[in-house]
Symmetry: D2
């Protein structure tokens, strides 16, 4: 997937259009989405998804707080937003781990296979943009993340019926979709208030498209790992494919 | 001042005794305290105090949040405490700067003279203990900081009458003394709940004594800088001694 | 481009095969390579390439040294290698800037357009793998980087004749190709000596494939930016396309 | 000990005078030096000294290299100096550990008691000044460190005869004194070449006095820990005082 935001303007409307077109392109070209829609994945796909989600989510409150800790972030209001938002994100990784356990995975969090390369690339990028450059730019990540449930719910509804998942197996997705309506509005308000220059808005838009693209790339990478397992190819998940509901 | 906690036990009572004896030793030997009690300082002393306070306080919410961001801090409850506490500390440096402005200092924050060496040593230590070692140990700093007003109010009451300070010139001190009653209890509760091993309690006690000692050393260092100015010796404050109320 | 190393074994031979297949896939599918081979790029492409090369190369000696600075890197021999290698990498970014200047670009380094998203993703990943995880894994980056000239020289020879470049316009490429023969051997020796466990070799192989893939993605991203400029679409390079030899 | 450099000028001569007066004050007031001169310490003192030396020396090549890794350090020549110097400092901590082993201490490095507070304060300060502020200022630490053997050799000669130490028990001290003649000249050349503004020279002088003062404070703190052990008071060294030659 190509990463190169083409930014004509930077109002919230433009950010939303940019987000929308990035999702659209993904939904129409993703191999993972196509396989889910055709009913060609089993529970193993969802277990890999939850594990990778555990990994990147583990870092979200951490990199969010780092934005507030920077010596060059001197906006008191934004610092408070960063720490408040970091606090709210604490433990979301545990929801993904909870869902794994609800599906019979006995591994403790530290025993899970390490992140796939695409997941580590996402994590790396989020730390980099949190610690360097325009301190506002991480808002671009929050912007799409808090607005993502419109796009992903159809995919997860499909997975739910396909894999006979119950609500207790999907707390990460369900609780996020409920929490995030309020968060999305809050993030938009922050962008409106804080992003006063073209440079600010450009930095936010670039991080929005790039972090969304890396996340979607991770989603397809999960599917590739799943395919590899199906073909009995080497995978860091091989050892844990005793993952199962029974 | 010697830095070497001698720790016989680690209950809250022991922490409090250890704190008390550290303050006692300081109050009876500090050159700064003696000079204040003898009425031998003028407004310049207070202006230097506010400037150095601005400097170390600038870093307090930052280093507090870094404790929460550490990958080896996996206690969700403690992470939330760190981010909440960081949020509450945001902007306290601005109170010190406000007090300076209320006394006629026209310098913007970034124009103030840089921190004295003793202040930079304190700042360095707080970052180090926030980022490395036992993640709980920064609670030792909070423990004494939130309990310090009993000890320092007599000194600042003396300064107030000596220098004819008004409440609006002392917002840093006054507002902290009011805020910190609740904070002190909260910090003690955290220590009770989180510090479960001897190693935890030792780490907290060591940071308590060391960070308190470095802060008190900074206070005397402020007095030495003041004395140097009185003798027209070279000082980074020389240029700003047009600091004044008139 | 998919990032998912499939690692059957981890001897130097396997690393080399893995590198070879990653390059092969790139050379046969890259839009940038195809355009160069068809003679469809002009000098602007090379100027963008040099600018992005300046950006990631700026960080190479820095992230290399950070591997040596880690408290969990306790192998004295490897620490020395890291610092020595960091020292050798100092200033290579300046060669890319020199080449830009030799082609008429008047901008100082800090005036160049910031890195493209794909370049920032590469930079982010290299910092992350230098600072976390198995300290040996950055050797995977050095492994392919020091061996890359076999693969890229045909591309740059084509560019040279296409754009009438002289040796003085290509110091980054030319000097690297000369320096790196010795370096490649040194890196292989280090891997042989230091990577003693399967985990070590897996970590090195994963970083090799991932960092190579991100670099090749960056190369295609440079071509996309170039294409956008050709179509007069918005680009951070628009302002600097007065870049030119005349 | 008061930390407040009084800097009249900043030529190498002034730096040297400033260093000389800091040492002079220490040598005439230090409790540790007085006790050594009176023959009132035994081997335990030296073992504590070696352990604390192990601790701060462990970080010296690390913090030295961090100066080179900073994105705001853009002086290629200075970056190379930092990495070269970092490389030379690698493993000096092992000499201190070797000397401990030569005296019968069986503990591996990671089993040694952790650093005393005064040692951790020194370590914290060296990281802070390496990572923030004027990048040149760490040269102030190198300046006195590479010139310290004139001052400390009389102390260690006294210890040697007092404790019947052999050359193999003193490799840290002996090898440093030999290595550092060349280093001292190199550091002075760097300061002469690189420190071009008053701000540069002031920053270097401040770090010189402050880091020297913190190191001397650590030395007295070692003596206090030793005294505590002599009085059977609680100490993190209690457990390891089976340290011994027999």
């Amino acid at each position: 997937m190509n990463i190169s935001p083409n930014l004509e303007g930077y109002k919230i409307e433009n950010l939303r259009e940019l987000m929308h077109s990035t999702w659209d392109r993904f939904l129409s070209t993703s191999e993972a989405v196509a396989a889910i829609n055709k009913g060609e994945v089993d529970l193993t796909f969802y277990l890999i998804y939850l594990t990778e989600t555990y990994h990147y989510t583990f870092h979200n409150s951490r990199n969010q707080s780092l934005v507030g800790s920077r010596e060059d972030n001197r906006n008191l209001h934004y610092m408070q937003f960063c720490f408040e938002h970091a606090k709210e994100e604490v433990g979301h990784d545990q929801m993904a781990h909870h869902d794994l356990k609800s599906l019979g995975v006995k591994l403790e969090a530290h025993e899970l296979p390490g992140p796939l390369p695409a997941t580590e690339v996402l994590i790396a990028y989020l730390y980099r943009i949190s610690l360097t450059g325009n301190p506002l730019r991480r808002l671009g990540y929050s912007f799409w993340a808090e607005n993502s449930y419109t796009y992903i719910m159809p995919i997860f509804d499909r997975l739910k019926s396909l894999l006979n998942l119950e609500r207790k197996n999907m707390t990460f997705i369900v609780q996020h979709s409920e929490l995030d309506v309020g968060h999305a509005e809050e993030v938009e308000k922050q962008i409106d208030k804080l992003a006063v220059s073209d440079e600010d808005r450009h930095a936010i838009a670039e991080v929005m498209v790039t972090s969304l693209t890396l996340t979607l790339t991770m989603f397809d990478s999960i599917y590739h790992e799943y395919s590899r397992l199906q073909k009995n190819q080497r995978s860091k998940y091989s050892a844990v494919c005793q993952f199962s509901r029974d």
